[in-house]
Symmetry: C2
Subunit: 403 residues, 2 copies
Amino acid sequence: MMTSGKTKLPSSVDIVVIGGGIIGLSFAYEAAAAGRSVLVVERRRCGSGATPVAAGMLAPVSEAEATLPGMVEFGLESSRLYPDFIAHTEADSGMKCGYRTEGTLSVAADRDQMEQLEHRAATHEELGLKAQRLSAREVQQLEPGLSARIVGGLRTEIDCQVDPRALSAALVVAGSARGVVFANATEVTSVELDPNGAVCGVSLRSNKESKGADSPHNRINVRNLVLCAGAWTPELIPELSDLPLYPVKGQVIRLRGDVAISHVVTSPDAYLVPRAGGELVVGASMEEQGFDDRPTAGVTMDLLGHAWRVLPSVYELEIAEINVGFRPTFPDHMPAIGPIDLPGAFVATGHYRNGILLAPATAKYLLAIMDTGEIPEVIAKFTPHRFAAARPAVVTTTMEIEP
Amino acid sequence: MMTSGKTKLPSSVDIVVIGGGIIGLSFAYEAAAAGRSVLVVERRRCGSGATPVAAGMLAPVSEAEATLPGMVEFGLESSRLYPDFIAHTEADSGMKCGYRTEGTLSVAADRDQMEQLEHRAATHEELGLKAQRLSAREVQQLEPGLSARIVGGLRTEIDCQVDPRALSAALVVAGSARGVVFANATEVTSVELDPNGAVCGVSLRSNKESKGADSPHNRINVRNLVLCAGAWTPELIPELSDLPLYPVKGQVIRLRGDVAISHVVTSPDAYLVPRAGGELVVGASMEEQGFDDRPTAGVTMDLLGHAWRVLPSVYELEIAEINVGFRPTFPDHMPAIGPIDLPGAFVATGHYRNGILLAPATAKYLLAIMDTGEIPEVIAKFTPHRFAAARPAVVTTTMEIEP
């Protein structure tokens, strides 16, 4: 389904997108649909990285609760774009993306957790959204498989879900149908600038061919470069190396069997996302410890324990996968979307826990910037330049220690 | 290292062993060392099945506690054979088998568990074996990585351990050095009898070649057949189909990292076996539910929880593998070793939780039976015929129900 590194590459394109995760794939598809010629360069294969580990909850309010108001607004906008985005993607690809609109059922196992749900309900109502408080009995009626210990719940109808694996696969097919070329297992080795210092070309190297000594390089003329390699984005070009982006490790478990719930169910400790075909996605840890990709005993034990307390039948489900992903985030937990100091180049990363949700809005506004050269108000706060102001001057001190 | 299904097969051998698990491999090696020509037929590959899932504790007393006295005696005998068995196997193969003799450290997390350890210590002493009671402080001194909550322990010096994966790999190499031929991915399709009704030949089919329509069959002249396919043994020939053998599913987790213990540590809930190279084997469940080979959320959660309570640093270890194996067992939890109703054929299976421990003694006595035609007293109680006496007569009743 996905094109291999042997794809014949064009000699010239409008846009090269580096990174075939959900952000890169969504942008490439939207840009191609708007008439641009686009090449996606992905060092592994499109749809890998953090994307297939994500659960795909589209929860602009509950997930963004602890962050800035601007994020809630942007999340709600992306959420509103989703039905159309899915409709086009499914139409162009002929594939389903697992988009579901049952809403989320948040449950509380005790009074303290019930207070947290009350707080969330109030936030929903402040935003003019519907939040339905449920008694223990109503929770049981809605999802009889849940633990009898649950004291109450909250149903938030704005929340939807999508299957990130299905969506990224469909975006590759839909993108191809619109003319996007995908170079998997390929890296950008250098960026060329024109006499004005603007991007005018890239050189690519196939990872598959590079096992030998001298692998051939492809040089491609390009006007715009979009850098969206997730947590690895600062490594792409020197202009981004100062970005304070870091990975937040997430461990997610996929269980298989008779899943016994139909809603997305969240508790303050874990989320449980039922998928078509008898799969239950249970997540997720939040660990700030670099690119350590080992699934660990402690997190697995804790996640399974949290899931089991909410849904007792979890005990008998099969462990199908234990996955690790790295959410790209900045210290303020807001993304960086917009032009950077290299003329012709743009960045789109740092979407933290909201990459799947924010993909359509990110694609839309990044394309608008390229069209107009102006930065829309709604994403002004996500400028990559916000860190430069806060960056402390580097002071080098030399201390001589007396022997 | 292991021979493939493309091995040139002999046209005639003394013994065909069906099943390349620890029992079949040990017998094949001992028989070849005693001068017999041997062919091992394994439908998957030698060293698969229950063998690589086993932890390899050699604990004749603690593991056999709940079973019959004859099993303790046989286990102790096999335990005494082990140093020589390992020495020969390592010499003939040039490989290490991970044989270690530090003894087992059994620990108690509370007074109830301490009483269980007292009972085990008494059993050890009745058998004339050393059992050293340890205070909480002494446990900490011996293994500082263990939880501070442990109230006491027991050190039983008879217990050893071996690495079942290393041992089965070495047995293949040592067996090859002694002339054993291994037919992996191969099944016995029929057994031929001479005019006296005794085994005289087998027909084999390669699983690798059988994907096409008509795969070639190999016919091999053979005097003795040894059936040791673990829990699948009754499926091999009609003469064994009545054996009340059944699988006991065991789930075992392999963790990787800084293991922090050097002894085998057991608690009443789990065992923790440290291996060379930073691996910790945590086991095991005991589930009687047929050949269901799914690793489940509940058992994984429980095993990790038990291990973590004994050894807190388990929390940070990597989950390297979650494996499922099927221990072959009879209702009395004793093995079946000896001749069956088909002249020339022998069975060796049903070793339950003690297959690794009992392999050398099983090989020794089965070979003695073939040599002498007599059944040694020590394994008389393991006769496969013990079930025939208890077998209830089948009564067929026809009931006509009035419409």
